[in-house]
């Protein structure tokens, strides 16, 4: 539920840094559960740059919509095109097939939570 190799935001996005200075970004198990059935993910163009915390897209479920915010500054290298036809991947596999964008990290990860801190945040929110 809280993979240890990921970094987390208070808004329930995750970021998975790679050794080559890139990172994958998506939303957490908690976020997809709160949204319910995801029906559309609006993602940015490849090449777009975002500051830390900037809105880079939206995720729409049957009942609501949520903004997607960048966990750290970066430039979009790739977006998960399979979500166009299979948005349900966000529900089924939020840390795997449900990834949203791949970025070239230009910011740092200082403001992000580790798995333990994020778990504590989620546990506080759900009680």
């Amino acid at each position: 539920m809280f993979p240890a190799d990921l970094k987390y935001t208070k808004d329930h996005e995750w970021l998975k840094p790679a050794a080559d200075g890139t990172a994958l970004v998506g939303i957490t198990q908690y976020a997809q559960d709160a949204l319910g059935d995801v029906v559309f993910v609006d993602l940015p163009e490849v090449g777009a740059s975002f500051a830390e915390g900037a809105e880079f897209g939206t995720v729409e479920s049957v009942k609501t919509v949520s903004e997607l915010n960048m966990p750290s500054a970066g430039e979009v290298l790739d977006v998960n095109m399979t979500l166009a036809d299979h948005p349900e991947a966000v529900n089924e596999d939020p840390y795997g097939k449900g990834w949203m964008v791949k970025i070239k990290l230009t910011g740092n990860l200082a403001d992000l939570l580790d798995a333990k801190a994020y778990e504590a945040l989620v546990s506080a929110e759900s009680h």
Binding site: G36, D37, F40, V62, K63, N91
Partner: protein, 367 residues
């Protein structure tokens, strides 16, 4: 924050791992683990079981009962035969809505009024306020009453083995009294989903027995427990009004497209004069159904309808439709724009997007 009210099925929902939300002060299931889309599809193709015990029940009884209900509602109550139900409303003098409701004719001089949970106290006070001029008693039976709704094409085959009451002869919008799983209840062929189905009213402390019996009988046939999330998408596809969205105390019955419940020739009732005047003048706005044209453009409740940067109307309810696969919604738009195939713009998070006005209901069952 005050404590949320609980239906008699609260523990059952939690045992089923429902996601619970505050709905008008009630702790209600918005969805179960299957999710809104699966629950929606179960109701359209098999069956779903809803807890609607939060709804309010008001019983009016006595020699003046018929006259009181005629006075309070625009539909023709005297046309109801015993065992028949109709959809109607409580209106203010200006023709806007106190609430919408079902009227059950239990006898020549006895009616059961079923109102929205969030308006239940207001409605009871409204009925009580007008009752003294009529020779009848008014009782708020809401706390003592549980209600479940079995909806979907398999409803009859799931429910029939649980009761000796022949269900097939009960017509749509008719009801009878009987026993289900050994529990006395009112069996009503009504619902809020656009599918065949039954709403069962029973004593509050018997609700879980009936719920469990229906769940057990239906699960092998594909029945799912269904929450408020799919209840909303199901009723939206059928253009059934929801108080606080399509109707409220700022919208009158004719502009809401509910002229069919307003019988202006039945005699006096509260709101009649205003609706007579409204009928004579052209309505400035109209409730229409729309679809947005792009997959990414998903309108939501209360978003503005705009024209040249100026707001001209508003969305009442909108969502991606599981059955139709389109992003659908209902909106009040200026009457001049309310033409089939016409275009309006909806402002979604600061962006004006194109929507096309399309026929409603968006979904109609085939049989």
């Amino acid at each position: 924050m005050s404590e949320l009210m609980k239906t008699p099925l609260n523990a059952a929902h939690r045992a089923l791992k429902a996601k619970m939300v505050d709905f008008g002060g009630w702790d209600m299931p918005v969805q179960y683990p299957a999710g809104i889309i699966a629950e929606h599809e179960a109701v359209r193709t098999k069956a779903g079981l809803f807890d609607v015990s939060h709804m309010g029940e008001i019983r009016v009884k006595g020699p003046g009962a018929l006259a009181l209900v005629e006075h309070l509602t625009p539909n023709a109550v005297s046309k109801l035969v015993i065992g028949q139900v109709h959809y109607t409303a409580f209106l203010y003098e200006n023709g806007t809505f106190v609430d919408d409701l079902l009227v059950y004719r239990e006898g020549d001089e006895e009616f059961l009024l079923v109102v929205n949970a969030g308006n239940s106290d207001k409605d009871f006070a409204w009925v009580q306020q007008h009752a003294p001029a009529f020779d009848c008693t008014v009782v708020n039976e809401s706390p003592a009453t549980g209600q479940i709704a079995l909806q979907g094409p398999l409803s009859l085959s799931i429910l029939q083995p649980l009761t000796k009451t022949p269900l097939e002869p009960i017509g749509y919008y008719f009801f009878t009294h009987g026993e289900v799983a050994g529990i006395k209840c009112l069996i009503s062929r009504t619902g809020y989903t656009g599918e065949d189905g039954f709403e069962l009213y029973c004593a509050a402390n018997d609700t879980e027995t009936i719920w469990n019996a229906v769940m057990e009988a239906g699960t092998p046939q594909g029945l799912l427990p269904a929450g408020l999330g799919c209840r909303n998408t199901l009723r939206l596809e059928c253009k059934m009004a929801l108080y606080g969205h399509e109707i409220d105390d700022t919208i009158h019955a004719l502009e809401a497209g509910l002229g069919w419940i307003v019988k202006l020739d039945k005699g006096p009732f509260i709101g009649r004069d205003a609706l007579l005047a409204a009928k004579a003048a052209p309505a400035p706005r109209k409730l229409v159904g729309f679809k947005t044209l792009e997959k990414r453009d998903i309108a939501r409740d209360h978003m503005p309808v705009v024209q040249g940067g100026k707001q001209t109307g508003f969305v009442t309810s909108a969502a991606p439709s599981p059955t139709c696969g389109l992003n659908l919604g209902l909106a009040y738009v200026p009457t001049g724009l309310a033409k089939m195939g016409g275009r309006v713009q909806i402002e979604i998070r600061g962006r004006a997007v194109e929507a096309e006005i399309i026929p409603t209901p968006f979904y109609k069952r085939t049989k």
